[in-house]
Symmetry: C2
DNA sequence: TCAATAGTGTCTCTTAGACAATATTGA
DNA sequence: TCAATATTGTCTAAGAGACACTATTGA
């Protein structure tokens, strides 16, 4: 470690990383290998290292890369949690981040897998997490749903090339609300012309009419 | 001061406090009386004191109370700013808060007025602020406008009792967009029945038909 | 031909904007 | 009565949901 001075207050970053797997919304959890809360499940996270982190967002990206080998297409600050009692080690600040992983990279986790990991189904979330992570996860999930309901496209959860039906299913899975196919596509044409582009001549085939493949335009952001 | 240990990283809170004055949106600025950026204008703020602050939100409220004598009806976390270079004193974290002051309390500022203060007109904002506060103010302002445009009522900027026209003018001032009186009132009736209540028998009088006075319902939150 | 899903068209209903009409006061 | 602003009503246009229709493939 490159830490030189002890941190006071203790500053950590915690990441709620979501993806879609088997038509279900999942979040990545890690089992803690150290005290406090050793053996408990928690959001993946780590301690700020001022010697190497340019800022807190960079710290979140570093943690996901070094601990899990992941470079994530979206990382967004959600909120802080702070106080003297939320971490037994003392007065602490945690910044929570919302991150998205493309569904075809769900098995890309490599890195120094010091911790046991699990993709937990959001709908079955009854497990109590370490620290105040249950609440942090709730906030990140709420923000994800709010944005998708507000018509922001979660393209970073899809493969590079995808069909419009895949996109529709992804949104339905996140929000829990069914979409009308016709109205959904009308909205894409009217309001997302600059977000999506058809991949010329590429189609997904099956026992049906081939489906046009689409991709996010360059520099698309989940904003 | 009750600080016992020096902070590392340095943790501060900065508050973008908005109100309406003379039909204009204003933000409270303070002139810094200490280094760094001595003599520069900045958002009011202060350093976290883990010995007395329950959390960062409490720190923001304490700073506004002790430095300016204000107890604010709304205080909301916006975002963090962090890094090694944004404050010459070293690696720092600042949490920005959005706060609202009722327009009839614009002169309520008392407290230990160690700093010179000014209500700066948002539309004339060309002044460069200390640290990265210009950007922080932009973010807070954007969030305020986003919420008001998304139909959240800024009741905390109005007096306890107000007319619907006052509310309409307030919203128009924040967003910069004119509202249709009829459609606006229809929206209030349809979507804000639980946010507003008429004050029975109380009217604002003038050279015109008296205007019903309204108040925010108990526990109304700007959310 | 049929099952299956892609993709499009159309009808209707709701909602929001535009604008007009009525209401009530002080001067 | 008039000026001024509060409050309400109505017409219309745009957008969204419901639903049906057509298109294209593999089996």
């Amino acid at each position: 470690m490159s830490k030189t001075k002890p941190l006071f207050p203790l500053v950590t970053v915690d990441i709620a990383l979501f993806t879609i797997d088997g038509g279900e919304l999942k979040v990545l959890l890690t089992k803690r290998s150290n005290v406090p809360f050793k053996g408990c499940w928690s959001l993946p996270g780590g301690v700020l290292d001022p010697a190497v982190d340019d800022n807190l967002l960079a710290a979140a990206n570093r943690v996901m890369l070094t601990k899990l080998g992941l470079t994530l297409p979206h990382m967004e600050e959600i909120s802080s949690a702070s106080g003297a009692t939320r971490d037994p080690r003392g007065w602490s600040i945690s910044m929570t981040y919302l991150a998205l992983l493309p569904m075809d990279q769900i098995h890309a986790i490599a890195g120094k897998k010091v911790d046991e990991i699990e993709w937990a189904n959001i709908r079955e979330r009854r497990r109590k997490l370490a620290f105040d992570h249950s609440g942090l996860l709730d906030q990140a999930l709420e923000q994800l749903r709010r944005k998708v309901l507000a018509n922001v496209l979660p393209l970073h959860m899809l493969p590079q090339k995808f069909t419009l039906t895949q996109l529709q299913r992804t949104i339905e899975t996140i929000t829990g609300m069914p979409l009308e196919k016709s109205a959904f596509r009308r909205r894409l044409k009217d309001q997302h012309a600059s977000d999506l582009e058809a991949v010329p001549g590429e189609y997904e085939r099956g026992v049906q009419r081939p489906a046009q493949l689409w991709r996010a335009t360059k520099d698309y952001r989940f904003h």
